[in-house]
């Protein structure tokens, strides 16, 4: 039987550190002891598997999945699409991608969000999809608005979509945020700036994708997601997965 291999280590120099004083909430919510490093066991190289039964056909269409029949969400119509890959460039097929976001005015349909911008009666702000056999996924939605948050006196979150990705094992789990090319608020965001390397920050900025744009209808942005790679495992005297 093919043994699933362990994952490459999480790149602690590329991901943000736990404690970042300019993102104030991290101060009391970051561990102070060092993490204890473990080899992956079957507990972590396995993970939940979801199927098409878990997904409704409209789940990846945020313009319509909460709208009244015949109506649609207000805002700039966009497609966010790309592939889920591992570090070796291999697609991660049939994995669950979940999304949630503010509406075009920057307001979430969440009871804790009291921002001045109005709720859009036709926008719920969440969706999900499964990657196909090539790791490809897409969402149709409206571009989320920027919104203010309490950190410094005057902080604004750049336009962003929250994304949750499972991968093929619990150790590959990732929650991140997708930003949009050209947004001047990205460089000023203390949460983006928790990521030390500018090139790493760049991986969170979806690029305008004119080729996937639907003329007279919807603008497209491309956002590829890279999960930890799997180590090669010796199997029948050859390296598996290279």
């Amino acid at each position: 039987m093919l043994k699933p291999g362990e994952f490459y280590q999480r790149d602690r120099e590329w991901h943000p550190p736990a404690l970042t004083r300019d993102y104030k909430t991290s101060v009391s919510r970051s561990p102070q002891y060092s993490l204890i490093s473990l080899q992956n066991s079957v507990s972590e190289i396995t993970g939940p598997v979801f199927g098409h039964n878990d997904i409704d056909p409209l789940d990846n269409d945020l313009i319509h999945n909460y709208a009244k029949s015949g109506e649609s969400a207000i805002g700039e119509r966009i497609i966010v699409h790309g592939r889920v890959l591992d570090e070796n460039g291999r697609p991660v097929p049939n994995t669950l991608v979940e999304a949630w976001q503010a509406n075009a005015g920057g307001r979430y349909r969440h009871w804790k969000d009291t921002y001045l911008a109005p709720i859009d009666p036709n926008f719920g702000g969440c969706g999900r999809t499964l990657t196909d056999e090539n790791g490809y996924y897409y969402f149709r939605t409206v571009k989320p608005g920027a919104y203010p948050w309490r950190n410094w006196v005057n902080n604004w979150r750049p336009s962003h979509v929250h994304l949750s990705i499972f991968g093929s094992g619990f150790a590959q789990r990732l929650i991140t945020q997708c930003y949009f090319e050209g947004d001047p608020l990205i460089a000023k965001c203390p949460i983006v700036n928790t990521i030390p390397d500018k090139a790493a920050q760049g991986q969170l900025i979806a690029a305008l994708d004119m080729n996937a744009t639907i003329p007279l209808d919807t603008i497209a942005y491309k956002f590829d997601i890279v999960l930890r790679g799997r180590r090669s495992t010796l199997f029948e005297n050859r390296l598996e997965g290279n």
């Binding site: 939940p48 979940e98 979430y108 969000d113 999900r128």
Partner: protein, 189 residues
């Protein structure tokens, strides 16, 4: 081709819309919730609950806890677990007055010789940029703990942070301390 890992970002304060909608009463479906059991689930039913406490000792009202565990026979879903058990659960801490997460599940079996029964846990919250991995072990398995390869990798004086306490019949309490003298052990795995 080798590309860098997509950097992690915080789950933020509004995850419930997308991830725990049913638990929070939003009009959306959820792919998983706090109850892992169904009518066909085989095993010893237990409740596992607890709070997440920040550095000031204040319960965190916007944490998201995910658990992944073997079934009662020690098998993971997709690898021989009984069909009535997905092994995956999700709970936010913003619903109960005391900001507890509360899971209904079954006591996991032994996944391999020498391993003590445990539940894998991921902790996400606003203010946390990378999710944190920890494990829940059970107080009645003390003999197995002495051999468990993960527990024995933890300094002896911190192991107790990974062991739930028996609260009442078939209920276990597992508090997660982000900082302080009882800071929970978190893993890089």
């Amino acid at each position: 081709m080798t590309a860098g890992q997509t950097p992690s970002q915080t789950v933020g304060p509004f995850f419930a819309l997308g991830l725990t909608a049913e638990q929070y009463g939003y009009p959306f479906t959820s792919i998983a919730g706090p109850d892992l059991t169904g009518p066909e689930t085989v095993g010893d039913r237990i409740q596992v609950f607890g709070q997440v406490l920040d550095g000031a000792g204040t319960p965190v009202s916007d944490a998201l806890i995910e658990i992944w565990q073997a079934d009662a026979t020690g098998n993971f879903a997709g690898k021989g677990a009984n069909a009535g058990f997905s092994g995956f659960g999700r709970a936010g801490t913003g619903v109960h007055d005391d900001n507890c997460f509360v899971f209904q599940t079954v006591k996991p079996g032994i996944i391999a010789e020498g391993h003590a029964p445990h539940i894998n846990v991921i902790v996400f919250m606003r203010g946390t940029l990378n999710h944190l991995f920890t494990r829940i072990y059970f107080p009645e398995d003390a003999a197995a703990h002495a051999a468990d390869p993960v527990l024995t990798a933890v300094p002896r004086d911190r192991r107790a942070t990974l062991i739930a306490t028996a609260d009442s019949d078939r209920a276990y309490r597992f508090d997660i301390h982000m900082q302080g003298a009882h800071e929970t052990v978190f893993f890089d795995l």
